[in-house]
Point group: C2
């Protein structure tokens, strides 16, 4: 598809218009945009001197992007539609990092035509693609990490070794690109600040090797992974900022420019998924609570019970007991929590409202187009 | 939400319009509607005397629903939007079975207002809901099955024991409903015809118990589960029809009316997901093939590598080797096949076209609204 055609595709080509009216039919995501901005400010303050690139994929709601831009946020994008959404906030293209390490050639071309000049790569092939269609760009080479300690871990899908990164960046220089530096990602909902230690050390080794060969790497992309609070008492943003600063001081004699790509850590806690109980049923000894929201209406991260949203109800406070929580579609995969059951009030019943906390990230964007006739999760902006 | 408001929600509130033009940018689902009709006719012929209710959830493309209606198909629906889609074909409401065992009360009311009169239940509570808002309806009580032998198995989410079913149906009669009979589901992509044996026997026991108490159950819903051919050499539809007929003869002295709810078995093999290779990369000893279609653009059933789509390429025939197959989004979950790698041509490269066969069911409907800026999978009708 020519670049000119792709610009027409919005990030949510199909999501219903957001509505400021609360109290409508469930399910919906209630999103508190001022809370998003407050999260942004707190994380930014915890990472002084580090550029903040909000990861658009976590929640591309235009009001979120606009509010973050007003706070000075830059953006982390991964597709033409995300480039368009980020630029629509008025952000200049040099404030974007195109972080998808494996891209369609014409998508790189599209981004370059919009003025994007910073791309993540992790192979010589991808580096050559960037050089071919986005010359005069800078590249960051992504290192592989273990993802240990994260709730939604990374696979071996992306990233290379430090030796390969040195080769990739040297190759980039031969192609006329700026071998700007290194990128890594510690895994989403990463709770352990120590997770940044090894990749920062590895990044420093790449910088040293490149400098020894006459290059001038200058930029370190520390990735995302900053956790939402969710059920667990995660450490505050300041703990992650302090740890990262310590690791940077330890491993870099000359500190490079740094950037982060937070998504979940900024937007998750500002969202509450409001759902209704369709039925409470006994199956043998087990109580099943059926909700009108499920895996196919945004709760994909409950697959394998990876992300556990704290659940509040209007009946909290009385006696409670364990139950399985299921979604509304006919699909038997549409069960949120079964292995580890959820403690909910014993008098919870049909028509009651439940609230899944920390649901502002990776929910509306993960909704299906309407599987089984259940519409995508809409966003209501809390005023 | 009042029933009048819910009718406005289409089944695909957000999917892009289908296009008859082939050869456009990938990815897309190429859907052969005449092949859908042919599959329908073959399965119907294999199940003489059994009413065919196409499971709209498998693929709600309007052209598919219209073609099936032209063949005489009835419909299996699970939400107001699916009721609307089925009725839009001109099907009368009595040709619909509302098979979702756990429903929102106002959704039952909506369906009843459209004339739907047959609902599946599996608890007394749901039976009471139907009696309250859809009086003069008939109910089928769903039995639990093991799902053994199916590739996308059912959980314990739905269904009750034969004893409970007798109680539910007797209760339905006391509420003025028609205790019409029994429903079960053997699990999607069920390859073993023997899977129908135990639930048919169990259904017969329910019928016998009800008749002994003066009721007149008359309808047996044999569910779906009929497999697509996919990679394996599944048995032909006739094998399933013959087995089901044999089990019915064995267990029912007086044979009830029967219906089936095929979805995948009718539409899967008529669809080919056409995608493009973004990159072929070596990661250590492993070859990774990145496609522009993935888990979030329709290939949800590759999660846990449950459904294995046969993959064809234009380079087939030469030397080949194993590779991991991954999707285009930044999400590390977006890997289709890794544990069991796929054998693909060694000279496969960027820009090559690949075709995932048997992809007509549970793909377009499972697409996200546009995660990471990658649009939902569109449908192109093959002419």
């Amino acid at each position: 598809m020519p670049a000119s055609a792709r610009i027409l595709a919005p990030v949510h080509p199909s999501a219903p218009a957001t509505s400021p009216v609360l109290g409508q039919a469930t399910p919906y995501l209630r999103l508190d945009v001022p809370a998003v901005a407050a999260s942004y400010r707190r994380l930014a303050a915890a990472l002084p001197g580090t550029a903040m690139h909000y990861a658009v994929k976590a929640n591309s709601e235009p009001a979120v992007l606009a509010a973050l831009r007003a706070e000075g946020s830059r953006f982390d994008v991964a597709s033409p539609a995300e480039v368009v959404a980020a630029l629509a906030t008025g952000a200049p293209p040099e404030d974007l990092v195109y972080s998808n390490p494996v891209k369609r050639r014409c998508d790189i071309e599209f981004a370059a035509a919009q003025g994007v000049r910073l791309f993540v790569v992790d192979t010589p092939e991808e580096t050559a693609k960037v050089a071919a269609v986005a010359p005069e760009s800078a590249v960051l080479c992504r290192l592989v990490t273990s993802g240990e300690g994260s709730d939604w871990p990374l696979s071996r899908k992306y990233g290379c070794s430090t030796h390969q990164a040195v080769d990739v960046l040297r190759y980039a220089a031969t192609l006329g690109l700026d071998p700007a530096g290194v990128s890594f990602h510690v895994g989403s909902q990463q709770r352990d600040p120590q997770a940044w230690a090894a990749p920062i050390a590895a990044s420093a080794r790449v910088f040293t090797a490149l400098r020894a060969r006459g290059h001038r790497p200058h930029l370190l992309d520390l990735g995302g992974g900053f956790p939402a609070r969710l059920a667990e008492d995660c450490l505050p943003p300041e703990a992650y900022g302090a740890a990262i600063n310590r690791f940077l001081d330890r491993h870099f004699a000359t500190r490079p420019d740094t950037l982060v790509e937070p998504g979940r850590g900024i937007v998750a806690d500002a969202g509450v998924l409001v759902a209704e109980v369709l039925a409470v049923i006994r199956r043998g000894d087990t109580r099943w609570v059926f909700l009108d929201a499920g895996v196919f209406t945004g709760l994909v991260e409950t697959l394998d019970e990876a992300i556990r949203y704290p659940i509040e109800t209007d009946r909290d406070g009385g006696p409670s007991g364990p139950c399985v929580v299921a979604g509304p579609t006919c699909d038997s995969t549409d069960v949120l929590y079964e292995r580890a059951m959820v403690d909910l009030p014993l008098d919870l019943g049909e028509g009651d409202t439940v609230r899944l906390l920390g649901a502002g990230a990776y929910t509306t964007c993960y909704s299906t187009v309407g599987f089984n006739g259940f519409p995508p999760l809409p966003t209501h902006l809390a005023s």
